[in-house]
């Protein structure tokens, strides 16, 4: 009768959970001397690595990707190279303060299995290249094309997600994917809907919440509004994102590289992820 365990024990969950930055922020602290990771019996053990893979896939892969190169969460292959196992163990156990990445109550042995798997993966794979591009040009592009809907700090619109910490929350490949094909994945609360009232008026916006009887949206004028479905003729769930797809014709590869380079510098104002 395991219930809710899957969610509760996820080691990493959502975009703003910045394992990267947190690990960096915690770097000066020494790990506890008695860390179980100091003598991890699973390192290099073939069977353990397979068990660790299954645990990783259950608890981490949703955000960090099956290949650990990051999906909505950061690229672990780039992060873990210089990190002692004791610190990694501590982060898995305690979670990340100030983010949605929870700690884990799993037995020590399970965390050690995950570490064995990640270490094996790191040895076998090359990390994503370091961010590149003209950051100044990227910032200009962002100001011209993105701030209408996205905020950084206190500036920008509300129709799209806050990107203040996106550099710590996303791998580079995830940023490219979400700029080129934004309809591939909608963050919760940003699905596109059009409400059709009984008199035929159409109201477009992002879906914030919904139940059988009502729906709550942010309309294109950035107003939070609630509607009774009984007052609507139709709720249209759109497949397209409100964000236009920035294809190569709209944003060439060089500009894309600059924009992504700028985005990767955004680490937020939260002390936990600075």
């Amino acid at each position: 009768m395991a219930r809710a365990r899957t969610a509760m024990h996820l080691l990493v969950l959502f975009p703003s959970l910045t394992l990267t930055a947190v690990l960096a922020a915690q770097a000066p602290k020494a790990p506890p001397a008695e860390s179980p990771a100091r003598n991890n019996p699973h390192l290099g053990n073939k069977e353990s690595i397979r068990s660790g893979m299954a645990l990783y896939r259950v608890r981490c892969a949703d955000c960090h990707g099956l290949d650990a190169k990051g999906y909505r969460g950061p690229d672990l292959t780039a992060l873990l190279g210089d990190m002692p196992d004791e610190k990694l163990f501590q982060t898995l156990r305690k979670g990340v303060t100030g983010t949605e990445m929870p700690g884990s109550t799993a037995p020590d042995d399970e965390l050690l299995l995950v570490i064995a798997y990640l270490r094996n993966m790191n040895a076998a794979s090359a990390a994503e290249p370091a961010p590149s591009g003209n950051v100044d040009n990227g910032q200009r592009l962002f100001a011209a094309q993105c701030t209408g809907c996205h905020r950084i700090g206190m500036r920008g619109g509300h129709l799209g997600p806050d990107l203040s910490r996106i550099g710590a929350a996303r791998s580079r490949s995830a940023l490219v994917r979400e700029i080129r094909t934004p309809a591939e994945w909608f963050p919760p609360g940003y699905e596109t809907v059009t409400l059709v009232t009984k008199d035929g008026q159409r109201i477009r916006g992002t879906r914030k919440n919904e139940d059988v009887f009502s729906i709550q949206i942010m309309d294109m004028r950035e107003r939070l509004q609630g509607y009774l479905k009984s007052d609507l003729r139709e709720v249209i769930y759109e497949k397209d994102s409100l964000m236009p797809a920035f294809t190569a014709a709209r944003l060439n590869d060089s500009d894309l590289n600059d924009l992504v380079g700028y985005l990767t510098t955004l680490r937020g104002s939260d002390h936990a992820v600075r």
Binding site: M1, A2, R3, A4, R5, T6, H9, E47, R50, S51, M53, A54, L55, R57, V58, R59, A61, D62, T105, A106, P107, D109, E110, E210, D211, V212, F213
Partner: protein, 540 residues
């Protein structure tokens, strides 16, 4: 003066001794016939959660309005079914708090609080599913694996017995079942490698009367060979009891659904059918002796506890009335079983099921390939939460429809070998939700004679709400978004809803009469809400 006091004291004592107990075994047999009572988890021994009350109807239920709310003031959510005895509600809550509450006003009368140890082992929260009542006593299992008896008038502890050692992973959440002079309970903790059991205790003394292990030992003539012949896998084979069973007085038999085998996902750790896990067991109520069993999911590897209420009823099968057990199982199939033998009469999926083609003539599922969890992950429908779960269904014998909260879900299941350590979680795997998977929930009405769906009402997200039906022709159920709703039981038309602010999780509505008014009582979050028609509409 002294003489006068003695006379007064003696007369009070005599009056107390002469007072009839508030809940007799006969009351329990009468079930919901007394409109002022809700005496056991499922309302009566049949577990139908079907009330004979008729004040609320499809015509007037739209006027239903909140009358009062009770806030626990504690952390954690209700998973309880409150009992109602003579105008007083008895409810258990998170962390083994419990209350007596005025059913007219929601005002608390007494409160019980248990001192729990810090080092509890629970897979799924320190929840509790309710009291049993017998005599002037209440009975509650505790998350540290005890059974306690409380004085119904004061909440004082009368006795407290240990079911098993919580330090190695045992826990208890089930609402006990009072049968004759015994209190029947079950143990939980299969995610920690326990060996499950069902126990009966003397209601007066707390002395154990019998025990039935839900995991067969090697010397068990029926189930002994369904575990690996070498080793001790059976000693940590799981088989939790999460939900209260039902009772057939004529057969003197209790029926309990049993939980998943342990470890949850890793097949190689426990080859064989793994009896009596993921089953329904029919036990002699006096001795605990096994009368029959039916295993819904032999060698379960998807965490599909049969933790549902075995609902008792009588159906026309091939033109003949037949006593049956109805069971909407977590594995996605709905079953109608013969109550005397456990033989399958009907077995049909009530949600999308990809793991089995059908239930064969021998009663075993006809498995489809590719659904054994491994390190790479295999996609199977339903997910670990199942086609339904611990939330109670309801059966309306008038419309002859079985109502269940259904979950349309899929998961990717993973499994791996794991070393067992007492007191540590022992599941050997886990699940994820496939990226393209859109889950949803529904209230479904099933004809238990054929297993076919008669109507459904869909929710945008999955729900864990139980169901209540009434002879007024109503179905009450909650969605996953905090609404309690009323439906016409014959058509499925939604007639009323109210936003509770927290989804009903493993709770269902109950209903009772006080002062001529029919109340609907709904636990959700840390709150009880009582609904009734506006007062003037019920005055005579």
């Amino acid at each position: 003066m002294r003489t006068l006091l003695l006379v007064f004291a003696a007369s009070v004592t005599l009056a107390a001794q002469g007072a009839a107990p508030q809940v007799t075994p006969q009351d329990l047999l009468r079930g919901l016939e007394d409109p002022g009572k809700w005496l056991t988890y499922g309302g009566d021994y049949s577990g139908t959660r079907h009330s004979p009350l008729t004040q609320l109807t499809p015509e007037n239920v739209g006027q239903l309005a909140a009358q009062w709310t009770f806030q626990t003031g504690t952390l954690g959510s209700f998973q309880t079914t409150p009992l109602v005895v003579d105008g007083i509600i008895y409810a258990t809550g998170f962390n083994n708090h419990a209350w007596a509450i005025d059913a007219r006003t929601g005002r608390p009368i007494w409160r019980y609080r248990r001192n729990l140890p810090d080092d509890l082992h629970t897979c799924c929260g320190a929840v509790n599913r309710g009291f049993a009542a017998l005599g002037d006593r209440l009975f509650m299992t505790t998350i540290d694996a005890h059974l306690v008896s409380l004085d119904m008038k004061t909440g004082d502890v009368l006795w407290d017995v240990e079911l098993a050692d919580f330090k190695v992973g045992y826990s208890a959440t089930v609402a006990p079942l009072a049968v004759k002079d015994k209190i029947i309970v079950g143990i939980a903790g299969a995610e920690f490698g326990i060996r499950g059991f069902i126990d009966a205790y003397d209601a007066q003394t707390g002395q154990r009367a019998w025990r039935f292990y839900t995991v067969a030992s090697p010397d068990d003539p029926i189930g002994g060979r369904t575990w690996p012949p070498n080793g001790d896998a059976w000693q940590r084979g799981g088989g939790s009891i999460w939900v209260t069973g039902t009772y057939d007085p004529q057969q003197n038999t209790v029926f309990f659904g049993t939980g998943n085998p342990g470890p949850d996902y890793y097949s190689n750790a426990r080859e064989g059918d793994n009896l009596y896990t993921a089953s329904v067991v029919a036990l002699d109520a006096d001795t605990g002796r096994l009368r029959w069993h039916y295993q819904f999911t032999p060698h379960d590897v998807h965490d599909w506890d049969s933790t549902q209420v075995p609902v008792l009823g009588e159906l026309p099968i091939n033109g003949q009335p037949r006593k049956v057990v109805m069971f909407a199982n977590r594995n996605g199939f709905f079953y109608t079983l013969d109550r005397a033998t456990g033989k399958v009469i009907v077995a049909k999926p009530f949600v999308e099921t990809t793991w089995a083609k059908e239930i064969g003539p021998d009663g075993r599922p006809v498995l489809l390939p590719g659904h054994l969890p491994d390190e790479e992950g295999t996609k199977t429908c339903p997910d670990l939460g199942g086609g339904t779960n611990f939330m109670s269904p309801s059966y309306d014998p008038t419309s002859r429809l079985f109502f269940v909260t259904a979950r349309e879900t899929c998961a990717t299941y993973f499994a791996f070998d794991q070393k067992f350590k007492p007191g540590e979680q022992y599941e050997s795997g886990g699940t994820t939700r496939p990226r393209d998977q859109k889950n949803f929930g529904a209230l479904r009405a099933i004809d238990p004679v054929t297993g076919t769906m008669k109507w459904e009402f869909r929710y945008p997200s999955v729900s864990s709400s139980g169901v209540l039906t009434t002879a007024g022709g109503l179905v009450f159920a909650g969605d996953g978004d905090g609404n309690i709703m009323a439906f016409d039981s014959r058509s499925g038309k939604n007639l009323w809803h109210y936003q509770l602010g927290f989804a009903m999780r493993s709770t269902a509505g109950t209903t009772y009469m006080v002062d001529g008014r029919q109340y609907l009582l709904v636990p959700s979050g840390s709150m009880l809400t009582a609904f009734a028609l506006p007062e003037q509409r019920t005055q005579r």
